[in-house]
C-alpha cells in the first residue's frame, strides 16, 4: 500500500505541491488528471526519487517503508516504476544493454538469478513484439533519435520487462496516435493484477477509455481538489478544468 500524507514540496523556494493526500491499495488503478503546471510531474518525480525538491511537510509510506528516505535505485528495486513524461536520451548506451543491466539489478535485489544474454534476448524479443516495436529500436542508443511515440513505447517496454509493483505513468498517452495508444494500453492492462498498483497521470480522458481506473483525482495548483470514480473523467472531458480555478492550457 502507498500512502501519501499531506505532502508539501518546494523547488527553489516556490511551493509546488501544497498538501497531497492519496492512498493507493494493491491492485488499484488511480488516475490523476489536471491542467498543465498543476504539479503532476513533480509528484511523479518525487515518488521516483529525483533530486532537487525540498519536502517541507508530509510523508510517503510504501509498503510500510519511508519511501522518501530511499535512493532512486532502491525504490526501483522495491518495485517503483516511473514512465517518464519526457524520457531521457542516453547517447552511447544501447537500449538492450540498458534494459539488461536494469533487469539484472532488480533480479539481483530480489534474490533471483541474473539472466544471461540468451535468456534476456528471448524475453525482450517477446515483449518487443507484443508492443509492436522493431528489434532495431533495441540496438539503438536509449531514446536517441526516437520519435515521441517511440520513446513512449520504449517506456512501456521497460515497464513490461521490469514488471513493477507500483507503476506511475506520466502522460504516457501524449505523442501517441490512437493505434499506438491502444497497444500501450493493452500492455499496461496486461500488467494489472491484484498485487500491482498504478498511478496513471493524463491530461485527456481518452487514455482512461482503455485503462479503466478505479479512482480519478483532479490535481490543481498542487492539491487534489476532487476525487471520484471513472465517471469524473468524463465530466472533466466535457467541462474542462475551469471549475478548479486553473487556467485551461493545452
Amino acid at each position: 500500500m502507498i500512502e501519501i500524507k499531506n505532502l508539501h514540496a518546494t523547488v527553489d523556494g516556490k511551493e509546488i505541491l501544497r498538501g497531497i493526500d492519496l492512498t493507493i491499495r494493491p491492485g488499484e488503478v488511480h488516475a490523476i488528471m489536471g491542467p498543465n503546471g498543476a504539479g503532476k510531474s513533480t509528484l511523479s518525480y518525487l515518488l521516483a526519487g529525483r533530486e532537487g525538491y525540498e519536502i517541507t511537510e508530509g510523508s510517503v509510506t510504501y509498503y510500510g517503508k519511508d519511501l522518501l528516505e530511499m535512493e532512486p535505485e532502491e525504490r526501483a528495486a522495491e518495485g517503483v516504476f516511473l514512465a517518464f513524461q519526457y524520457p531521457v536520451e542516453i547517447p552511447g548506451v544501447a537500449n538492450t544493454t540498458f534494459l539488461k543491466v536494469a533487469l539484472n539489478a532488480l533480479r539481483k535485489h530480489r534474490g533471483e538469478k541474473e539472466l544471461d544474454a540468451m535468456q534476456f534476448l528471448k524475453l525482450v524479443r517477446e515483449k518487443t513484439k507484443a508492443l509492436g516495436m522493431s528489434d532495431d529500436m533495441l540496438k539503438r542508443a536509449v531514446n536517441v533519435g526516437f520519435s515521441g511515440g517511440e520513446k513512449k513505447r520504449n517506456e512501456s517496454l521497460q515497464m513490461a520487462v521490469l514488471e513493477p509493483k507500483f507503476a506511475i505513468l506520466d502522460e504516457t498517452d501524449s505523442g501517441l496516435d490512437i493505434d499506438a495508444l491502444r497497444i500501450v494500453a493493452e500492455g499496461v492492462n496486461a500488467l494489472r493484477s491484484p498485487e500491482r498498483s498504478m498511478l496513471v497521470i493524463t491530461h485527456y480522458q481518452r487514455l482512461l477509455d482503455y485503462i479503466v481506473p478505479d479512482h480519478v483525482h483532479v490535481l490543481a495548483a498542487g492539491r487534489i481538489v476532487r476525487s471520484g470514480g471513472k465517471e469524473l473523467a468524463v465530466e472533466l472531458e466535457k467541462n474542462g478544468y475551469r471549475d478548479f480555478g486553473a487556467n485551461e492550457a493545452a
Binding site: A48, G49, R50, E51, E71, P72, E73, R75, A76, A77, F81, L82, F84, P87, V88, E89, I90, P91, G92, V93, T97, F98, V101, A102, L103, A105, L106, H109, A141, V142, Q158, L162
Partner: protein
C-alpha cells in the same frame, strides 16, 4: 615545434645530477664502443646540460609543471632479477602466444620474450642486441626523427638510451598478429629512471600493428622517459597502440615521432590510466603525398594525477589526411592537458585535418586545459578543431537509477559510453576490445 629553449648560461641545477651520472656511466652504456653513438649521446648530454628539465615558462610546457622531479634524485635503474611477474599484460585471448618483447626496468628480458610466429624477414630484437649485431641498421635510424634540440626529455633519453624494442618489417611484408612490447617497472628501494628507445621501421608496403603495455608493479617514484621513432615507408601501414598503467607515484614521459611516406598510414592510440604525472608527445609527419595519420587516445585520471597529451601533426605534402579524437574522464583533483598542433606547410594543398578533444569532469576540482593550435600556410585546405568540457548528465543518471541501476554502475555506463567514442577509433578489433575492457576496469575500480 617553434619553441626555443634558451640556454641559461650555467648548467641548470636540475640537470646537474643527471650529467654527473652520465659522465660516470657513459662507458658502460650499450654500444659504448660505437663512435657515432658516442657522438649522439654527447649531443644529448650537452643539450640537456644546457636546458635541463622544461619549466612552465616554456610555451609547450605551460600547463605541466615538473617541479616535483626536483625533489627526487633518480638513479639509472639497475638490472633487476626477474621477480614476482606471473602475468604480463596482453591483448591476446588467454593462453594465446604471439610475438612480444619484454623489458623489465628498461632491460630486455629474453626468457619472457618471443619472436615466434613472425613472417620471414621480420626482425624483432632488443636495441642493445642490435647495437652489437647490426649497428649499421641502427645508425641509419636512431636519432633521425627525434632530435634533442627543443626537446629536453629527448635530449636526456638520447644521452642515456639503454635498450628498447627494434622492429623491422621489410618491404612488402604484412605481420598479421599484433607485436606486443611490454615495459614493466618493478619496485626498487630508490627512485630509478629508465630511458628506453623504440625503433619501428616499416619498409615499402609493409604492414604491422604494435601494442605497447606500460605497467608498474611497484609503488615507488620511478621515472620512465621513452622515445620512439617510427619510419613508415611509402604504401606502408603502422598501427601503434599503447596503454599506460604505471603506478600512481611514477612519472611517465614519452615522445613518439613518426614519418609517413607516400600513400602510407600511421595510427597512434594511447590509453592512459596510470602514473602520477604523464606526458605523451606524438609527432606525426606526413612526409609523402596522399598519406594519412590517425592520432587518438583516451585518458582516465583521478586522485592527484596529471596527464598531458601534446600532439603535433605536420602536413608537409599535398593530399594528406589527419584525424585526432581524444576523450578524457577526469575525477577528484586530477588534471589533464591537451595541446594539439596542426601545421600545414606551404604546398601541402588539399590537406584534410580534423581534431577534437572532449573532456568529462567528474568532480568540481577536476581540471582540463585544452589548447588547439592551427598553423596553416596553404590555401586549399580543410582543417577543423574543437574542444568540449562537460559533466555527467544528471538527467541520464536519474533515469538509469530510476530503473534500478546503482549509482556507480550508472556512472560507469555513462563514462564508458563517453570514452567509447575515442576507443572506437582503434582500427584493430582485438586491441579495441582489450582497451575497452581496461577502460571498464578503471571505472569499476572506483
Amino acid at each position: 615545434m617553434t619553441t626555443t629553449f634558451s640556454a641559461r648560461g650555467a648548467a641548470p641545477e636540475t640537470a646537474r645530477p643527471y650529467i654527473e651520472q652520465f659522465d660516470r656511466l657513459q662507458g658502460e652504456l650499450p654500444g659504448a664502443g660505437l663512435a657515432w653513438l658516442a657522438e649522439l649521446r654527447r649531443q644529448g648530454r650537452d643539450r640537456f646540460a644546457e636546458i635541463g628539465f622544461p619549466t612552465v615558462r616554456n610555451e609547450t610546457w605551460k600547463y605541466t609543471n615538473l617541479r616535483a622531479l626536483d625533489k627526487l634524485s633518480f638513479e639509472p635503474a639497475s638490472p633487476t632479477p626477474r621477480a614476482g611477474i606471473d602475468t604480463l599484460p596482453t591483448v591476446r585471448p588467454a593462453g594465446a602466444q604471439g610475438p612480444r618483447l619484454v623489458f623489465i626496468d628498461g632491460r630486455f628480458h629474453a626468457e619472457l620474450s618471443s619472436t615466434a610466429g613472425l613472417p620471414e624477414g621480420v626482425e624483432l630484437l632488443s636495441l642493445a642486441d642490435a647495437l652489437r649485431t647490426k649497428p649499421d641498421f641502427v645508425a641509419e635510424h636512431l636519432g633521425r626523427l627525434a632530435q634533442p634540440d627543443d626537446l629536453p626529455l629527448v635530449a636526456l633519453n638520447t644521452a642515456f638510451l639503454t635498450d628498447g624494442p627494434l622492429l623491422h618489417v621489410p618491404q612488402g611484408v604484412a605481420v598479421e598478429q599484433p607485436v606486443e612490447i611490454v615495459h614493466v617497472t618493478l619496485a626498487g628501494d630508490r627512485p630509478s629512471a629508465v630511458h628506453p628507445r623504440t625503433l619501428i621501421v616499416a619498409g615499402t608496403g609493409a604492414r604491422v600493428t604494435v601494442v605497447e603495455h606500460h605497467v608498474g608493479f611497484g609503488t615507488g617514484a620511478d621515472l620512465a622517459n621513452h622515445v620512439a621513432e617510427v619510419f613508415v615507408a611509402d604504401e606502408a601501414t603502422v598501427r601503434h597502440y599503447k596503454v599506460q598503467r604505471e603506478g600512481t607515484e611514477s612519472f611517465h614521459f614519452s615522445h613518439a615521432a613518426a614519418t609517413v611516406g607516400t600513400n602510407g598510414h600511421y595510427d597512434n592510440f594511447i590509453l592512459t590510466t596510470g602514473a602520477r604525472l604523464s606526458r605523451n608527445e606524438v609527432r606525426s609527419t606526413l612526409a609523402g603525398t596522399d598519406s594519412s595519420t590517425h592520432v587518438s587516445g583516451a585518458y582516465m585520471v583521478r586522485g592527484g594525477q596529471h596527464c598531458d597529451t601534446s600532439t603535433f601533426i605536420d602536413h608537409a605534402q599535398p593530399n594528406g589526411t589527419s584525424r585526432e579524437v581524444y576523450k578524457g574522464a577526469i575525477d577528484d583533483t586530477a588534471r589533464a592537458v591537451f595541446q594539439g598542433k596542426i601545421l600545414v606547410r606551404p604546398g601541402a594543398q588539399k590537406t584534410d585535418g580534423y581534431q577534437i578533444n572532449r573532456a568529462l569532469l567528474l568532480s568540481d576540482n577536476a581540471e582540463i586545459d585544452s589548447k588547439p593550435e592551427l598553423e596553416i600556410y596553404a590555401d586549399d585546405v580543410k582543417c577543423s578543431h574543437g574542444a568540449t568540457i562537460g559533466e555527467l548528465d544528471e538527467d541520464a543518471l536519474f533515469y538509469m537509477r530510476a530503473r534500478g541501476i546503482e549509482k556507480d554502475q550508472a556512472r560507469s555506463l555513462l563514462i564508458g559510453a563517453f570514452l567509447a567514442e575515442a576507443i572506437e577509433e582503434i582500427a584493430d578489433e582485438t586491441v579495441r576490445e582489450a582497451f575497452q575492457e581496461i577502460a571498464s576496469g578503471w571505472m569499476a575500480s572506483r
